[in-house]
Symmetry: C4
Subunit: 193 residues, 4 copies
């Protein structure tokens, strides 16, 4: 089965997710800097979510690029990932309007944790389908960044009830860890092609 449509559909959904988040930035009532200042918390949350969803897109790009063909299971593992990503605009809007509140921070972390879990599952399904592609398996095998992200998201959920700034710092840290694209797979691909 061809992977072209899976990539096209995922691109479509992620492009829409990343773009409709900006609809949470409501046009301010006034026409001065004070009016703009009111949307600053939502804007900062938007920047964070844009980067985190952008990371999923680049990693998804690298992962699928290293893949030859896909199974029906991959289709559903992929839809599962897109489902959790589709909730990012909702939790971004809620966190943006309640940045100092614990529950929206914890829910933001929970949705990101579930997206990370879904990405790990997608990776596993693809690797198991390509078990004759030992380099892909070996390359992703350790996946230290992925495991670290899972741990940081999981930690951010209870810590939001201690101090939500700790959780925010964890979200930003995950973004910084991943901003460097996954050169491991990239290097494998280069050798492979």
């Amino acid at each position: 089965m061809s992977k072209t449509r899976l990539e096209a559909f995922s691109d479509g959904v992620i492009a829409i997710i990343i773009t409709i988040m900006v609809l949470e930035l409501k046009v301010p009532e006034g026409d001065d800097l004070a009016a703009l200042g009111h949307v600053l918390p939502v804007f900062l949350t938007y920047v964070l979510s844009f980067v985190l969803v952008g990371i999923y897109w680049t990693n998804h790009h690298h992962l699928l690029h290293a893949t030859d063909e896909i199974s029906g299971g991959v289709l559903w593992a992929n839809l599962h990932l897109l489902f959790w990503l589709s909730l990012v605009p909702f939790v971004t809007g809620w966190l943006g309007e309640n940045q100092s509140a614990s529950v929206p921070t914890a829910i933001y972390g929970a949705v990101l944790l579930m997206a990370a879990v879904a990405y790990t599952m997608l990776q596993s399904v693809i690797v198991s389908y390509h078990d004759r592609n030992p380099r892909l398996r070996a390359a992703i095998g350790h996946d230290r960044k992925g495991k670290l992200s899972l741990a940081m998201y999981a930690a951010a959920i209870p810590l939001a009830f201690v101090n939500q700034w700790i959780s925010d710092a964890l979200f930003v840290s995950v973004a910084l860890i991943w901003l460097i694209p996954d050169r491991r797979i990239e290097s494998i691909v280069k050798q492979h092609v």
Copy 2:
């Protein structure tokens, strides 16, 4: 005529449908779990619609994948399917805000029934255009899952006026039946390619 653009356009429309449904999840007013609880019914309806539209995407993917080329009639049969799917966000939002009401449940079922009818029509148009492809015709020929889904959606509409939970159970059952991708076409494709 090439099928690439038909797939790309369908991917685009389905990606937008599946993603704008999340806009029905309005950012809650408060910042606690009680506020989040108010969006729970809409969220559950969103999950159901996401899965049902996801099923259409995977089946559409399989069906077109088994197809070589398309006619003008296929373009319109496909647009007809996309029309009914485009109403899913509307009925999802209405059902989500009125889960215990009969009419929104029946209308939700009616839109899903019409989408299923449109999919069956699309399948027929494609099969009749590929009458020299006996394997595709034979593979889809029985289409037990498709017929069962049609019957369950049709039954869900009047049953919504008896007890809307019966209809909800039918919608969930259709989702469960289809969550396994259509291996019949998939197997044909593998032999074919």
Copy 3:
């Protein structure tokens, strides 16, 4: 210059236009058929616009399919068409909420007229760029349906101030004329390929 991205971008824009129109169908306040009845005028206008935009997509599909390569002028003629199509959701929403009013009906016709003019211009740019492709030029040359649509849209604008139902009848008639895909180009393509 390749036409793939032009098609992909146009597909994306048209897919979004056709799908965000459904956002004008606001979730009704009540939970009974009376509540649903209030959105019926918007729904009917949505059906009409869906069909008219769908016609543009299928014709665009046929036109580009008969094209080998594109120039910078085609890019802008195409963006010009997409601009007028992008106003369709706006005029659909306005007409849907004011079906018995003259001005929204006339403006709906004006946007459709401009889209038809833009399509004619795009067709001309493509034909003049392919002047060594006499069959494409000959096939589109007469373009009776296109000229008839232009005349009907132009007539619908002043007639909206006489009786808006005449204009509505003209819009529906244009849709019916075009529902049969443009077999002229299709037949040329078949010979060409």
Copy 4:
């Protein structure tokens, strides 16, 4: 690494940006020309933004077309550009509702300036990655239009506090400068292919 998905994803995001801007055109309350007149300022701002984003799409199209393959750095330089473009609907809506105000005009200019900076950065990353493609480097090397646009956007920001019409004139001038597609790269591509 293939550029297909980068193009597809960028097309998706730009298509959505250019289309959701029309959502800022709220359906008017009344049904006469006076009601339509109230959305005229938003409409004019929409036209300007549509053209400016359309220019980014055509230039992006030309730039990527001249490119053979892409690096991880290009992915992020591209996401950076898409981030600033994603803010265009927000500043379009704000400027549209406050056309005679200095701050929205200056912020509109600032977002366009940042998008132009991001485009310049993307161009540099691509050129440095293709240092063995001297024609691409030579062709973009001068980039007079790009530098002029940067200067005009930078000037429009402080001038918005003198008289916002000067800034508006600068935005329109940038659009006019670029409406002619970048024939330099186009000519290189023709020689190259």
